[in-house]
Structures are given as structure tokens and as C-alpha cells.
């Protein structure tokens, strides 16, 4: 029991390291309510007027932004929002990757089009390697009636196409902020 907890903490640490190495920012909250507060302050720091959010992240929209919410259904709306708020279904520690089992183009738009992407991830959804989450991905893609797409997102959008110099935010978000809900964080501190 104790050993499993330790391994979990190791995975969270590794996820954080790798996500940051890929250029993502990681903020940790102990509870979903704390996460909502953290998200509110991130959006305020941005001075965001409108945010885009897909259905699955609805629970994390801070109260004061509920009125300033666009759905991702129309791509242009997502593009004009200052931030997108999304929920990641899994995290992959080895590569610092977020996994999203897409259910609509709207969801993909929210992940991709706004200049800042704020992604909520629960620490218990972090796995070690891509291979560990393959069963869930494969299952999601298997159903002929489902939407049948999966996105893996690691860090912000990047390019090195001019003189091999790294630049951030070319076509996708320039910032990826991961809000990590880690119940153990309070006890460990």
C-alpha cells in the first residue's frame, strides 16, 4: 500500500518535470475547488474577457467566467477566446503528455485555437508510459459509432523552421498551463 503511494508520487514528479521540459507550466491544487480558484486567478492574470470551454471541463469554469463562456462548436469563437479551458483524461509521465479522448470537433478546437490552453488533470490519471494508456485509447477509437479521435498534447505549439531556432505558439497555443489536482499535496507539505 505504502509502496504504491510512493510510486504514484514518483509518477507525478516525473510528469511535472517532463511537462515543464516540454514548455508547459504546471500548477498544483489539492482539491477540485482549489483548482477552480487557481483557474480563476490564471484567467484574471491573463485579463481574459471570454474563455472557450468544451462540455467535459464545465465543472471547472470559475463562477465569474460562466457568463463569458463560448462553446467550441464554432471554430471562430474558440479562436477569438483569450483562453481555452479543457479537461485531460490522462497524463503520461514519461513524456509530460496530456491525453484527450476527443468527443467532438468543438473539443479539439478548444484545445487548439485560443492563445492559452488551461488543462485540468487529476494526479490519479497519470500513468507511466503511452503503452499504459493504450487500452483506453484503443477502446475509445474502437467504437464505429463514437467520434473516434484521440489527441496527445505535449507542451505548447512550437516550431524551429526558421534557422532551427525554437519559437513557441506558431499555430496552436503559445502557453499550456496544466492545473494538476493532487490530493496528496496537502499531506506531503
Amino acid at each position: 500500500m505504502v509502496r504504491r503511494k510512493r510510486a504514484g508520487a514518483g509518477l507525478v514528479k516525473l510528469f511535472r518535470e517532463r511537462a515543464e521540459a516540454a514548455g508547459a507550466e504546471v500548477r498544483t491544487s489539492a482539491t477540485p475547488a482549489a483548482a477552480r480558484t487557481a483557474i480563476a486567478s490564471i484567467l484574471e492574470e491573463l485579463g481574459a474577457q471570454t474563455i472557450a470551454s468544451a462540455a467535459d471541463a464545465k465543472a471547472f469554469v470559475p463562477a465569474k467566467f460562466r457568463a463569458r463562456l463560448v462553446r467550441g462548436d464554432k471554430a471562430e469563437d474558440s479562436a477569438s477566446a483569450e483562453a481555452g479551458l479543457v479537461l485531460a483524461h490522462f497524463g503520461i509521465a514519461e513524456t509530460g503528455t496530456l491525453v484527450h479522448l476527443d468527443r467532438s470537433d468543438a473539443g479539439k478546437n478548444v484545445w487548439t485555437l485560443p492563445p492559452v490552453c488551461v488543462a485540468v488533470l487529476e494526479a490519479c490519471a497519470i500513468v507511466g508510459r503511452l503503452e499504459d494508456v493504450l487500452p483506453a485509447i484503443t477502446k475509445h477509437l474502437a467504437s464505429p459509432s463514437g467520434f473516434g479521435q484521440v489527441s496527445l498534447v505535449t507542451g505548447p505549439s512550437r516550431t524551429a523552421d526558421i534557422e532551427n531556432v525554437l519559437s513557441i505558439g506558431v499555430h496552436g497555443p503559445g502557453r499550456l498551463v496544466i492545473v494538476l489536482i493532487d490530493g496528496k499535496i496537502g499531506k506531503m507539505a
Binding site: R18, A21, A22, A75, E76, A79, E94, T95, G96, T97, D102, S104, D105, K108, N109, W111, T112, L113, L130, E131, L134, I137, T138, L141, A142, P144, G146, F147, G148, Q149, V150, S151, L152, V153, T154, G155, P156, S157, R158, T159, A160, D161, I162, E163, N164, V165, S167, G169, V170, H171, G172, P173
Partner: protein, 697 residues
């Protein structure tokens, strides 16, 4: 004279790119077993290719079940027509494109433009080269040949206003321009990094996120994928994704990886392109070309690509792997010039994610080119008329020795060549043939014959360069082996066959090889002094001769490996350990390092004999640019590659360069001489022989 093929700016960009790539790749592979992973990938791809037709059918069925349309195209024209038809059917006059090398292969953009459909590239590099009406010069970095100033000029022309020469500003313009257009473009076009048979998924890997925009925002969706991209399961795809980003860009993972199985909210048409790949599949020698996952690691480490870039060393596909693909998808003739640009250094094979024997296959391609397209007369004469006939070969060198006083100065080098030939020797002094051959010196020396002092007999095969140019190396090797207690015999001074094999003349090569092997059939152990000859006698020759060579290869061993395996104690007995007076560095000759895997043996022997640590130069295992007839075919490229090698040597401050290959010795020593560098360039045998203790020297 024609313009220079080497663009100095591009050369320096590519050199830096390659240096950074190697560092990033090493970090990204930390904790991964690259050898094991690529063996698995090669096996997975081979197994997938074996059942390619079945997997394509499965992919089609699964993709269709999920609301997609799947079409097959026999060749590039048919693929282009199908794409144009889908776009036309949906009334799309413009299509947003994510990067697709297969789309480059079919010249899709030209085709669409002619049909009145405007293709809009969205990958930053692709867009830049599209605006400049150029072709990509690297599979992953399409615009690597352009500077930020070039890009600013290109963007300014497009926008009709001045643009700052700053990369962040240029990247912002690319974003704004695409965002302005993307919501009104009716169709999106993507390539595929892999196709998954079990669920009909298209896998798309991009860093910029343009692939996600293009595959999500426009209502009409088209995918173009070549047939070898299909793998059976998601687990196979995961293996591919474990290697692709790490080996391609030195990233642990790519920013965006999408699995697109369901059609989602839009109709999607997937076009599967054959374009002669079925013929590659049916070819037992070349089939492995289709294992390629287009990571372009082979380009990033190719010494010739680094100097020339993807305008010169390309048709559409670039470098060594590109040469092989070109021969089928664009025709044998188009691959001819490219096939001549492979140095045969085999470095790419160490980095290939799918263990493709790129350099070996380029040699096999040269055979087909010679058979089907023809070869220059001088090469046929040299390989078939001279090298394959030892008496003619010997007579030619005899003539050169007779003419020696006329040809060479007192220093042992040829006189400078007159104007039209200057490019062949301006960067490297060319040695005159030695006054006496190794065979002759050995015979006179009394080192041969006699009875072995207990350790048995060894046959030395020195190779042509030592026989005719550097007999002192042969003598030194003989002295070391004699001191260790071996009786010494010499193999006949004949060509091993490598130059012919490398040039694509397997019949001459086999003739030389078999003649030589017949002469040394009775020998128990044959110690070689040239890694290229060793490669021929131990590996390439037996492959050519098949069963008839059975067992012969086992007794061929390079000088350094023989000593390291059998005589470490013996060397300690006969040598007086003495450090080099100056810094010692070691050039890892290509065949020695990449084919024989013997560089570590030399290092161990040298460090034991000198008691000092070798100071490594940057990229010590990169070709010196000699590569046999390459330096005569492409003197300019040979010169540029040598210049980098000499810079690397200078950086170490070394006074002595050790190496194992007389070809590298010719090139590097000749280059040092032209540059006036006070650097001794010595074969391992020389460094050992000068340390023989009194009793033994």
C-alpha cells in the same frame, strides 16, 4: 566552370543543426534502449510489409465503418486526380495543407494549381518554400536553407509591407496569416505518419499544431498516405511513436499527436498511394527501404548531405534513403546522380530507426544503374580492365614508379596539378607511389620465412594503398607481429575487389575477391591493415560469392582487433609504454567504426601502448571525405568534408592523429600538408612499432 554546388551559408547552418541534433537526440534517448527499440521496429515493419495487402484491406474496412471513404491510387497522377476530384465535388477552390512528403512526391501542388485549386501550405517551413516557389530541402525542416532575412523578404513580398528580420515577429506573421484564412478555407489536406489497420486510424504528428487546425477546422477532409504506412495495431503504432520524435528531432515526444479514426463531424477521404511501392515490396533486396518512418536521422548525420543540403543531394526525397526511394517512385534514371553522392560511410545505418542498410542498398542500386542506365567508360576500364586483373594493376603501378622522378617532388608528393585539374589536389597533397612496394621491402627484410616462434603463422593482407604508397605501415605491422612471436606470410598484392563492388560492378569485384581468397585459402589467420579491404574480405565479398566463401570470412581480422583479442598481454611484453609527446587524437575510419565495429579495439590498444588518454575531436566518427573514387568524382564535396575534419583536429590541439585506414591517412595527411599543420598522421601499426622495446625492435 559551373557554379559551386556548395552554399557556404547552408553548409554552416546544417553543420550547427547536426551538432545540436546529436546532443538533443542523445538526451531524448536517455533511458531508452535504442538498439532494442529499433530492432523491434524493424521486425514490426517487416512483419507489416509481409502482410501489407491484408492490412490495407483491414484499414479500409475499419476506416469505412467509421464513416470515412478510402480510395486507392496506383501512381502519383491518379492520387492527384482523386484529390482534385474530391475537392471539386465539394466545391473547394482552396485547400489548407499540412506537411506531406508524399504530396511532394506526387507534385500535388502543381497539379492542383493547374486545376484551378489553390493549395495553401500551413507548416511554417512548407509555407515559406511555397511562397518562394521552391521545394523542401529537408524532410523535417523544409526551409532550413533560408535565413531569417530571406524569410522576412519573402513575407514582405507577400504582405506588401516591410517585415522585421526577427524570428518571433516572423512566426507571429505566419500565425496571423493562417488564422485570417483558415476559417474560410473549405478543405483540409494532411499526410499520415502511420495508419492503424485494427481501427482505421490515421496518425498525424506535428509540432506546430497546424496539422490539428487543418484536420479539424475545414469541413472537407482529405488524407494522402503511401501504402507502407499501415501497421497492424495500436501497440505497433506506440512503438513507432516511441522512436519517431526522439530520432527525428531529439524530442521526447512531439507537441501534437492525433489519432483520427472516426470521421467526426466531417466527411473524410483517405487516399492510399502505391506509386511503385508494390514493386519494392516484391524485391527481396530493396524491400527494407519501406521500413522507413521518415525520421530523417540519416540526413542529419550524412556528411555529404551536411555539405550539399537538400537542393543538390535530392530529387524530391533527399540523401541516401531518398536515393533509394527515388529509384522507384520517380524512376531509376532520376536516382543516378544521387547514388554517386553517397560516401558509403555507413554512418546513417547506425542512426536509422528502422535498421535500414542504406549504404549497402545504394551500392546495390549502383549495380542496377550500371546494368540498366550504363556507366562511364573510365570506370568500366578502371574496375573491369585494371583492378580485376592483378598483372595489369601491377604493371600500372610499375609504370607510375618508373615515372616517379618526373611526377613528384623530393618530399614524396606529386607535383601540383595543372589548372584544369587543380580542384583534385588543391585541398590535399597527393602522395607519389613509394619507391619500393611493401612486398619488395618485406622480401628483402628477412621478416618473412623462418619458423614461427611458437605462436603460429599469420598472413598479412596490406591492401593496395599500403602496397604501393605506404609500405612503411606494412613493415611496421609485420615487425609488431614478428615481435609477438608469429611467423609472417604475405598475401599476394592484389585488389580485394571493394572499389568495383562499391562502384556497382559486382562481377569484377567477385573476380578479384575470389582470386585473392583462393590465394589465402590455406592461411589460418589473415590480418588486414585496411578496414575497407577487411569489409570486403570479411563481409561484402562473402555476400557476393555465397556458399563458395563459406568459412573463409572467419579468419579475416583487422590488425587492431587481432591485437585486442589475442595479444593484450603480448603487447605489454614487447612494447615499452611511452606516451605521445603531443596530444593524441583518434580518427574513427568509417568502415572500421561502422562496419567492423572495431574502433573500441583500436582505442584500447593505443591507450595501453601510450599510457595516455586519447583526446577526442568533435565528431570523431565522421568521414574524412576520401571515400575512394568519391574524392575524384566530387572533389569539391571531399574538400569541404575534409575541411571540417581538419578543423576538428585543430580544435583538440593534437600533435598526432591515429587512424586505421590508409585511405583516411592519404586524405588527412595530404590535407594537413596543404594547410601547413604540424600534425603527424599515423596508422595504429606505426604508433605501436615505434614503441617496440630494444629486444624486439
Amino acid at each position: 566552370m559551373s557554379r559551386s554546388r556548395i552554399d557556404p551559408h547552408l553548409k554552416s547552418v546544417l553543420a550547427e543543426f547536426s551538432r545540436n541534433y546529436l546532443i538533443k537526440r542523445r538526451n531524448a534517448l536517455m533511458g531508452q534502449n535504442f538498439e532494442e527499440l529499433r530492432t523491434l521496429l524493424a521486425e514490426m515493419k517487416d512483419a507489416s510489409l509481409e502482410r501489407n495487402a491484408e492490412l490495407l484491406d483491414r484499414f479500409e474496412a475499419e476506416a469505412c465503418r467509421r464513416g470515412n471513404e478510402v480510395l486507392r491510387a496506383r501512381d502519383g497522377d491518379e492520387a492527384n486526380r482523386l484529390i482534385a476530384d474530391v475537392l471539386g465535388r465539394n466545391g473547394a477552390a482552396k485547400v489548407a495543407k499540412s506537411k506531406s512528403m508524399v504530396g511532394e512526391e506526387t507534385h500535388l501542388n502543381d497539379f492542383l494549381s493547374r486545376r484551378g485549386i489553390e493549395p495553401r501550405e500551413t507548416d511554417l517551413g512548407e509555407w515559406i518554400v511555397q511562397l518562394e516557389a521552391e521545394a523542401p530541402t529537408h524532410m523535417v525542416m523544409p526551409a532550413i536553407h533560408l535565413t531569417r532575412a530571406d524569410v522576412a523578404r519573402i513575407f514582405a513580398r507577400r504582405l506588401g509591407r516591410p517585415v522585421p528580420e526577427e524570428i518571433p515577429a516572423l512566426v507571429r506573421i505566419a500565425r496571423e496569416e493562417l488564422r485570417r484564412e483558415i476559417f474560410t478555407i473549405p478543405a483540409g489536406f494532411i499526410g499520415a505518419n502511420a495508419l492503424v489497420a485494427e481501427n482505421g486510424a490515421v496518425i498525424l504528428v506535428t509540432n506546430e499544431g497546424n496539422g490539428r487546425l487543418v484536420s479539424t477546422v475545414p469541413p472537407v477532409q482529405v488524407v494522402l498516405a503511401s501504402i507502407e504506412k499501415v501497421v497492424p495495431t495500436m501497440a505497433d503504432a506506440a512503438l513507432l511513436l516511441r522512436l519517431l520524435p526522439r530520432n527525428a528531432t531529439g524530442q521526447v515526444f512531439t507537441s501534437y499527436v492525433s489519432f483520427i479514426a472516426g470521421a467526426g463531424d466531417h466527411p473524410r477521404t483517405v487516399i492510399l498511394l502505391d506509386n511503385h511501392r508494390s514493386e519494392i515490396l516484391a524485391d527481396p533486396v530493396f524491400r527494407q527501404v519501406l521500413r522507413c518512418i521518415k525520421c530523417s536521422a540519416c540526413l542529419n548525420v550524412c556528411p555529404a548531405y551536411k555539405v550539399l543540403g537538400g537542393k543538390e543531394f535530392a530529387h524530391v526525397y533527399m540523401g541516401g534513403i531518398g536515393t533509394l526511394l527515388t529509384a522507384w517512385v520517380h524512376g531509376l534514371k532520376e536516382s543516378k546522380a544521387m547514388a554517386g553522392l553517397c560516401l558509403g560511410c555507413h554512418r546513417c545505418e547506425d542512426y536509422c530507426a528502422a535498421k535500414i542498410k542504406i549504404a549497402d542498398l545504394v551500392i546495390a542500386l549502383r549495380e542496377r544503374l550500371n546494368e540498366q542506365i550504363g556507366s562511364p567508360l573510365w570506370k568500366r576500364l578502371a574496375f573491369e580492365g585494371v583492378l580485376a586483373r592483378p598483372p595489369v594493376h601491377r604493371a600500372a603501378f610499375r609504370a607510375a614508379r618508373v615515372g616517379r622522378p618526373l611526377l613528384s617532388g623530393k618530399d614524396g608528393y606529386l607535383r601540383r596539378l595543372p589548372f584544369p585539374f587543380r580542384k583534385y589536389d588543391r585541398f590535399r597533397a597527393v602522395p607519389a607511389p613509394a619507391k619500393k612496394t611493401f612486398s619488395k621491402l618485406f622480401k628483402k627484410s628477412g621478416l618473412g620465412g623462418g619458423q614461427a616462434a611458437g605462436r603460429g603463422r599469420i598472413t598479412i593482407f596490406a591492401g593496395c594503398l599500403i602496397e604501393h604508397f605506404y609500405p612503411e605501415i606494412g613493415m611496421d605491422a609485420a615487425r609488431v607481429l614478428k615481435a609477438l612471436g608469429y611467423g609472417i606470410d604475405l598475401a599476394p598484392a592484389a585488389c580485394c575487389g571493394f572499389p568495383s563492388a562499391n562502384g556497382g560492378f559486382p562481377r569484377s569485384a567477385r573476380k578479384s575477391y575470389e582470386k585473392l581468397m583462393e590465394a589465402i585459402r590455406a592461411s589460418e589467420t589473415v590480418v588486414t591493415l585496411c578496414p575497407t579491404c577487411t569489409t570486403m574480405l570479411g563481409h561484402a565479398g562473402p555476400d557476393l560469392a555465397g556458399d563458395e566463401a563459406a568459412g573463409l570470412a572467419d579468419k579475416i581480422i583487422s590488425f587492431a582487433e587481432f591485437l585486442e583479442r589475442k595479444e593484450k598481454k603480448g603487447l605489454a611484453r614487447v612494447l615499452s609504454k611511452r606516451s605521445e609527446p603531443n596530444v593524441l587524437t583518434y580518427h574513427e575510419s568509417c568502415h572500421h567504426k561502422y562496419y567492423l565495429k572495431a574502433a573500441e579495439a583500436t582505442r584500447s590498444v593505443l591507450e595501453a601502448a601510450t599510457g595516455s588518454k586519447i583526446k577526442d575531436m568533435p565528431e570523431t566518427a565522421t568521414c574524412c571525405g576520401f571515400a575512394g573514387s568519391f574524392s575524384a568524382d566530387h572533389p569539391e564535396v571531399s574538400e569541404a568534408i575534409l575541411a571540417e575534419k581538419l578543423d576538428a583536429i585543430k580544435e583538440t590541439g593534437a600533435g598526432t592523429v591515429a587512424l586505421d585506414c590508409p585511405g583516411c591517412l592519404l586524405q588527412i595527411r595530404g590535407g594537413c600538408r596543404r594547410q601547413g599543420l604540424a600534425v603527424e598522421v599515423r596508422h595504429t601499426a606505426q604508433l605501436l612499432a615505434e614503441r617496440l622495446n630494444k629486444r624486439n625492435s
